[in-house]
């Protein structure tokens, strides 16, 4: 994503404070360039080119800190503080639109997107830097951005009707927060979360440690991959998006008339200012939208496509490695199902959960990644070939019920042929 980085100087300090105040309010219009998709293959925190990769056999006893720090969950910086002179502010513009995305050849569906990509662009900053995000909503649905796992001030948490009003059509909202804690995180829309994440409103958020990166120090690596896991029920999504957009189009048309706006009471939306008011409305005859007389049987969510970075196999991107190399893989489960990611032919080190280093790396070949959770693993180049890396909950290995497909990619050794292994991948869409 194209970002604008600024140092706060004495001259601009006061205006930044004003901007922060605006951000904590209803948001403000900004005219920076739209953000764009950003890859995550090369770790900018890696040793400079030429730094020798530590041989695999020397990494087994590396001095990984095993002591628990009792107050480690406390923020390093007061989340409610303002930027100070000399602080670095990364500014991003994010626009939400409806796009037609081809997830497989000729398999197109409508999705909501951050900056026209699914997942949204990766945000990668250093711990302690400030992040300013100018969100613009160009759809007729409501949206917010929730910074999952971050110690943000409450007003910036992105929970509609909880910490802010949802952002409507053509409205803007500015988020400002300090990046902490370090680690692998993600962001997503928090309005009708189940549907909006299925619709594509999620993206990775990587906060690099301000000081020593214990993972880098223990398992030196130059390349890393971010794999965002998710799934979608395309029929549920189409029905829900159509219903919400239809309601939004009606509401937005009513917005043009003061007479009609006066009829948009909370009961039309199902919004109330207190539990007591809600209870009074129901007991007074208002029928809530979940009542069987309005809903009938519940609409079940049965995902039929399973994604790694917004695409199912065989359209997923490969990971690459060479013999003797460590690569870091950041796994983010933005979806609603548990995904047990299994690597063929290798064990790997599970080093972080939810961005935080484990008390000790755990050796395994299948790592569970819970919904809303992240897991960092280190794969070591020890067994040349072309290896499958996939969710072992095999229901996720299908495209619309047909296997193979879904949540699978390949770990490809770039020097496999030199090691005597010739591999030609066969693209199978029906086993």
């Amino acid at each position: 994503m194209e970002e604008e980085t600024k140092q706060v100087g004495r001259r601009t300090f006061l205006s930044k404070l004003a901007g922060l105040a605006g951000a904590f309010g209803i948001g403000a219009g900004l005219d920076s360039q739209p953000a764009q998709a950003q890859g995550s293959v090369v770790n900018p925190n890696a040793p400079k080119t030429g730094t020798p990769v530590v041989p695999v056999e020397n990494t087994r006893h590396s001095g990984w800190p095993s002591q628990m720090v009792i107050n480690e969950t406390a923020p390093k910086w007061n989340p409610r503080a303002m930027p100070k002179p000399g602080d670095k502010i990364h500014e991003f513009n994010i626009e939400i639109t409806v796009e037609k995305i081809e997830i497989l050849p000729m398999e197109e569906h409508h999705f909501y997107t951050f900056n026209k990509t699914m997942p949204g662009p990766e945000i990668r900053v250093k711990e302690g830097d400030w992040v300013k995000v100018n969100l613009t909503n160009k759809t007729h649905d409501f949206h917010t951005i929730h910074w999952h796992g971050m110690y943000v001030p409450c007003e910036m948490d992105g929970v509609p009707l909880g910490t802010q009003y949802p952002v409507g059509y053509n409205q803007k909202f500015t988020y400002l927060w300090r990046a902490q804690p370090a680690g692998t995180h993600f962001y997503h829309c928090h309005n009708m979360t189940n549907m909006h994440i299925q619709a594509g409103l999620y993206g990775s958020l990587i906060v690099e440690p301000a000081e020593m990166d214990i993972v880098q120090q223990t398992f030196p690596y130059e390349r890393e991959y971010t794999l965002v896991l998710s799934e979608v029920d395309t029929d549920f999504l189409r029905e829900q998006m159509n219903a919400m957009l239809a309601m939004g189009v009606t509401m937005d048309a009513m917005n043009g008339s003061s007479k009609l706006m006066s009829k948009m009471s909370g009961k039309m939306m199902g919004w109330f200012t207190s539990k007591e008011e809600f209870e009074k409305a129901v007991r007074g005859g208002w029928t809530p939208p979940y009542h069987r007389s309005r809903t009938g049987p519940p609409m079940r969510v049965e995902p039929n496509f399973f994604f790694i970075n917004g695409r199912p196999y065989p359209m997923t991107e490969h990971m690459h490695i060479t013999r003797g190399e460590n690569i870091r893989v950041r796994l983010i489960n933005a979806g609603i199902l548990l995904h047990n990611m299994h690597l063929h032919g290798h064990d790997f080190w599970h080093v972080c959960v939810d961005g935080a280093p484990l008390a000790s790396p755990v050796r395994m070949n299948t790592v569970p990644v819970f919904p809303g959770s992240t897991a960092d693993i280190i794969i070591q180049g020890t067994n040349p070939g072309g290896w499958h890396f996939h969710d072992h909950s095999d229901i996720s290995l299908m495209n619309n019920g047909m296997s193979p497909g879904g949540m699978m990619t390949m770990l490809m050794y770039e020097d496999a042929e030199a090691a005597g292994f010739k591999f030609k991948e066969i693209i199978a869409t029906d086993s």
Partner: protein, 409 residues
């Protein structure tokens, strides 16, 4: 041992016969191998039951007003539709079959079942092609009466080949239709129809006896209550009556829905439709069929108030009125009106009440058993539902397709 052999032989025979029996349960597909995948199945239905009290008065010498009562079940319907996506995402193929109940003089009970929908349909973004029995190509505006055939003589372009015993013959026809779409809002309908023929002189004729063209504009459903004119259209139809029947009858027609108070909560709208028939030389009414053929003008108007507290329909009050006059037949004017109230008791389930009146001048009344005027009142329930199984196709005019690029599902 012998018994065992008999058992084995029976098993073998059964095994040989079962596949044949299975094939025999349905008609053969043109390419019998893998005729279809599991399609999307849509089941729709409408149940209408009313207690009807009528008070007709005749033009006969005694001219007294009589009264009668009946349980009216007409216009109830059940529809089954199946659809599937076609190869290469070229579009969607559908098959629909449906029955509706009808008042029929031919049935001893007064109620009969009528096959009103049976068609196959190909849909893509720009093209809609259908062949079979479905709504006539001249249907344009729906009026807010309990049944679609209430005030039938005013709200539907009438079928000049019908003997008048089944009102549904004016509303449904056998046809081949091509609809060309532009932006999924505008459509041009080109059709050739076999209007159902039941008059003694035409009964049994199944050929094309009507063809025409119609244009229609339809706004997003989400804006139907907010745009001033969410629907309008016009068309031309030529019905090929023979010279012995007065000659071909042409119809020019048009209509619209106009929101007087565009408001999703307190909506007031006006529906207007007019059709003008010309070219036929019928100058006197020898039968009710002549009233469907003769040149003349028919106008229908509906005024409706719909109250939808918090956006959910609550009740509706409407007045629908129609007036018909003939160019070449004197004393044949007629007018009718319906005052309708609907109270929604639950989603799709309504309590309905309707008062209806029709007045006929003498020449027109003569064609209708001499009934000069008639009052009727109905009270009852309506249940309307739609349910989709194996859902995997979206409607073509979905908001996503209308606003965010079309997807052929």
């Amino acid at each position: 041992m012998k018994q065992n052999r008999t058992g084995v032989a029976l098993l073998a025979l059964t095994a040989a016969l079962l596949p044949a029996m299975a094939h025999g349960q349905a008609q053969k597909s043109p390419i019998p191998e893998q005729p279809s995948i599991a399609p999307q199945i849509e089941l729709d239905g409408t149940g209408i039951g009313t207690l009807q009290l009528s008070s007709p008065r005749t033009t006969l010498s005694n001219g007294v007003r009589s009264s009668n009562s009946r349980i009216n079940l007409s216009d109830s319907a059940l529809l089954l539709g199946v659809s599937q996506q076609l190869s290469g995402k070229t579009g969607v193929g559908s098959f629909v079959v449906g029955l509706t109940s009808t008042e029929s003089n031919r049935s001893p009970s007064g109620t009969d079942a009528f096959l009103h929908q049976l068609y196959l349909n190909f849909q893509s973004r720009k093209l809609d092609a259908a062949i079979g029995r479905t709504d006539t190509g001249t249907r344009l505006v729906d009026f807010p009466t309990i049944r679609g055939d209430d005030l039938n003589e005013f709200v539907n372009v009438l079928n000049p080949f019908s003997d008048g015993s089944n009102v549904q013959e004016h509303r449904y026809s056998n046809q081949a239709t091509v609809i060309l779409h532009s932006s999924l809002r505008s459509s041009l309908n080109l059709h050739a129809q076999n209007l159902i023929t039941t008059t003694p002189s035409t009964v049994g004729q199944g050929g094309i006896n009507s063809y025409g063209i119609a244009y229609q504009y339809q706004e997003l459903d989400a804006l139907a209550a907010l745009k001033k004119v969410p629907l309008w259209g016009a068309g031309f139809e030529r019905r090929t009556l023979g010279s012995g029947e007065g000659g071909a009858s042409n119809v020019l027609y048009g209509g619209l829905v106009y929101n007087i108070a565009p408001d999703p909560v307190d909506r007031i709208d006006l529906r207007l439709q007019d059709y003008y028939a010309f070219g036929n030389d019928t100058r006197a009414f020898g039968s009710v069929t002549d009233t469907f053929r003769a040149d003349g003008n028919t106008i229908a108007l509906g005024l409706r108030y719909l109250h939808s507290p918090f956006g959910v329909p609550g009740y509706q009050v409407s007045l629908t009125a129609g007036y018909k006059t003939y160019d070449k037949v004197r004393h044949a004017d007629t007018f009718g009106l319906a005052l309708t109230g609907v109270k929604r008791l639950g989603s799709g389930f309504d309590l309905v009440l309707q008062y209806q009146y029709q007045n006929r001048q003498s020449a027109y009344a003569a064609a209708y058993s001499g009934v000069k005027d008639e009052h009727s009142i109905q009270i009852g329930f309506v249940f309307n539902f739609t349910n989709t199984f194996n859902k995997h196709l979206g409607p073509r005019r979905s908001l996503l397709n209308l606003q965010h690029q079309y997807l052929p599902d």
